[in-house]
């Protein structure tokens, strides 16, 4: 029969190993939770920031659209032409050329088109006054 080792006798209370494992698991889960939570929170703030940025950009787009609308308004175009010393007038009727499908051209004042001839397209008449 083996003799009992007196030096290895327990003197204090033993911390249960299972409890320690449970506590460590809880601590681990808590740590993961805190990490995920802080990451979620950070993402949340980032989303908010991006939402604000999106709203600002949207506002800026509308502002730019308005400015563009103002710049290309007929009154403004006319003002710009004047500033650059450009005097534009409507083309006279004999300056307008019509092109026909058969390749012939004539002016609004010109010869009568061939019977049955169709207009291929009408040259763009620029409104410049």
């Amino acid at each position: 029969m083996a003799r009992r080792n007196r030096k290895k006798t327990q003197t204090g209370l033993m911390f249960p190993a299972r409890l320690a494992l449970v506590l460590m698991a809880v601590a681990g889960v808590s740590l993961i939770y805190v990490c995920v939570q802080s990451r979620t929170s950070a993402l949340g703030h980032e989303i908010k920031k991006l939402e604000a940025q999106r709203d600002q950009l949207r506002e800026k787009v509308i502002k730019e659209q308005c400015e563009w609308a103002r710049l290309q308004s007929p009154a403004n175009v006319e003002k710009a032409l004047k500033e650059h010393g450009l005097v534009m007038t409507w083309p006279s009727r004999d300056q307008i050329v019509r092109m026909r499908a058969d390749g012939s051209i004539d002016t609004l004042m010109g010869p009568e088109p061939r019977p049955g001839g169709r207009l291929a397209r009408v040259d763009r008449i620029v409104m410049n006054d």
């Binding site: 609308a69 308004s73 175009v77 609004l108 019977p115």
Partner: protein, 583 residues
């Protein structure tokens, strides 16, 4: 240290820890179940916040190919002060002068606003542009704050002011399209309910509810801003030249009733609507009734032709310019002994028109005029339309029909007068005029689309064709409206010079000069009316208004791609739509 002492210490520590843990547990239980209810709800209230998510108001766009923006909401800043902070810092004077200099305010008035000891909030300036707001922010002044807001912007300024209207400071449409389409333009605000962290930032993972806002829908008009500009420019020039008190003009597409341009003067800047008077805000084209004068002869003669009681060649004795009827004298501007029906229109004979109206009889004349929608609204999709004045035939005197024939004793709006002319141009079918083409939601869904709508037939198609021929003579040599002629095109129209009724009498000095017509006469594309109020000293429609018509009609024909009549141009309408150009 003995084993006994070690155990005792361990025991004491365990007891203390247990006590501490018990205390915390009890506190937790109290917080969660019992006495903490009040503080929990307080904390929850402090952390929870509700925010109404503002929604941008929809835009108003023109009907041209590039859908130009006529109205849109843009971001701006409100500048406000906290007077208690300013007074405490004893810097009211300095701050007031600095802020006033940047915002262009009166320093004394600004200081007075800031010197209200009991107040914590006072607006210094609202809807400040970003540049100015940035300049204020750079000053870093104590007690001066900026807050975000939006304001309605009308990039074209005064152009189209009567049609667009304006939005008041509460964001409610209060005039024109802004008013009548408010329910589409304003959209639906959203709601955000969430919780805040200790630094008053929203915790996104704690959002309670989020109702997305629905942006306001865009309203697309039938108006073309380039045509509008042409018309406004010509009207402004004519008003200056003839020193007119007011004016209005409309261009309408004959076949559909679409309004392509509508001008009223005086006007106002909708960006600064507060300074506009009621007179400036009045949309005269639809809301101002006037006695139309000779332009009204068109309706009477169309009715007589439709009834078959006259033909274009029927001769009338025009009494050498002076006719006594029912003890009242009726005069012609130019005396003629005899004129046929076509020439009565061409020369604008009052006596001839009056005789035709008498032949037609009160009942029939009344019926035809109501068929032309005189005395009732045409139903344009703009607020403030008037229906004109036409008393029932039963209340007419013995000379009423002879006076109505020359446009006296009857009142119309310019839109109604144009409606008569467009009815004739459109083979006798009156179309409902409209300015709203469609309403489109931000995701592109068409919520409302206005289609051309016939109001009814006023005269037969063959009568309308005859009338178009007769009216085309008015702009030919010898007619009263030669200045409305456009080279290469046949223009149909009628001049009008009406004395204004003043205190029960007709004024000898104040006139309404008008011209109403359409073009091209044989295949009408658009109709136009120009009405000038009290032009001086020249005051006839042929001299004051017809040139405006001619000038604008020529440009409009080119802009719309109309081709002068010619053989072998087979698909004119397709070509016209292809040739639509932008400046």
């Amino acid at each position: 240290m003995t084993e006994k002492h070690g155990s005792a210490r361990y025991f004491v520590l365990a007891i203390m820890l247990s006590l501490a843990m018990t205390g915390l547990a009890v506190r937790l239980v109290f917080l969660h179940l019992g006495a903490g209810e009040q503080s929990r709800s307080m904390s929850s209230k402090t952390r929870t916040y509700k925010e109404t998510l503002a929604v941008p108001r929809g835009r108003i766009l023109d009907g041209g190919p590039s859908a130009n923006i006529l109205a849109a909401n843009v971001g701006a800043k409100d500048v406000w002060a906290d007077p208690s902070v300013l007074i405490a810092s004893n810097k009211v004077g300095v701050v007031a002068s600095q802020v006033a200099a940047v915002l262009g305010l009166n320093p004394t008035e600004t200081a007075t606003l800031m010197n209200q000891e009991r107040r914590r909030f006072v607006y210094l300036a609202r809807y400040v542009p970003d540049e100015q707001a940035d300049a204020v922010a750079r000053l870093k002044l104590p007690g001066i704050h900026l807050s975000d807001t939006t304001t309605r912007s009308y990039p074209q300024g005064e152009m189209l002011c009567h049609i667009l209207g304006f939005v008041n400071h509460d964001g409610v449409g209060s005039w024109g399209i802004e008013q009548c389409m408010d329910k589409y333009l304003k959209g639906t605000p959203g709601l955000l309910e969430s919780q805040l962290d200790g630094r008053r930032r929203e915790m996104l993972d704690r959002r309670i509810q989020e109702i997305q806002p629905r942006d306001g829908a865009d309203v697309v008009l039938t108006i073309d801003q380039n045509l509008q500009y042409m018309l406004e420019k010509s009207i402004d020039a004519a008003m200056e030249k003839h020193r007119a008190k007011a004016a209005s003009a409309i261009i309408q597409r004959v076949r559909t009733g679409e309004i392509l341009a509508m001008v009223n003067r005086p006007g106002f800047n909708p960006n600064d609507f507060r300074s506009a008077t009621d007179e400036q805000k009045l949309n005269r084209a639809i809301g101002y009734v006037y006695e139309p004068g000779s332009t009204f002869k068109v309706a009477v003669i169309a009715a007589a032709l439709n009834e078959g009681i006259v033909t274009p060649t029927t001769m009338f004795n025009t009494e050498n310019g002076r006719w006594l009827y029912q003890k009242k004298v009726l005069r012609d501007y130019h005396p003629y002994s005899q004129l046929n029906v076509a020439d009565i229109i061409k020369k604008s004979s009052n006596i001839g028109a009056a005789k035709i109206a008498i032949m037609l009889g009160d009942e029939r004349l009344d019926r035809y005029l109501r068929g032309f929608n005189i005395g009732s609204r045409l139903g344009i999709d703009l607020p403030g339309e008037e229906g004109g004045i036409l008393a029932p035939a039963s209340k007419w005197s013995s000379i009423s029909s002879s006076r109505i024939a020359i446009g006296q004793g009857v009142a119309v709006t310019p839109l109604q007068m144009l409606g008569i002319m467009c009815g004739i141009a459109n083979d006798g079918i009156m179309m409902r005029p409209y300015v709203i083409k469609e309403v489109v939601s931000p995701n592109g869904t068409v919520l409302v689309r206005h289609e051309p709508q016939a109001l009814g037939r006023c005269i037969r198609s063959d009568t309308a064709a005859v009338m178009r021929e007769i009216l085309a003579h008015v702009t030919e040599p010898g007619g009263t409206g030669t200045k409305a002629a456009v080279e290469g095109f046949k223009v149909a129209g009628k001049t009008g010079t009406a004395q204004k009724p003043v205190k029960g009498h007709y004024s000898e000095t104040d006139y309404m000069a008008s011209f109403v017509g359409f073009m091209p006469a044989d295949d009408p594309e658009f109709g136009m009316i120009v009405v000038m109020d009290e032009p001086q000293p020249l005051h006839t429609g042929g001299i004051v208004s017809a040139p405006v018509f001619g000038e604008v009609a020529e440009q409009a024909a080119r802009y719309l791609g109309l081709l002068p009549p010619g053989p072998a141009i087979e698909d004119r309408s397709a070509i016209a739509s292809q040739a639509r150009v932008t400046p």
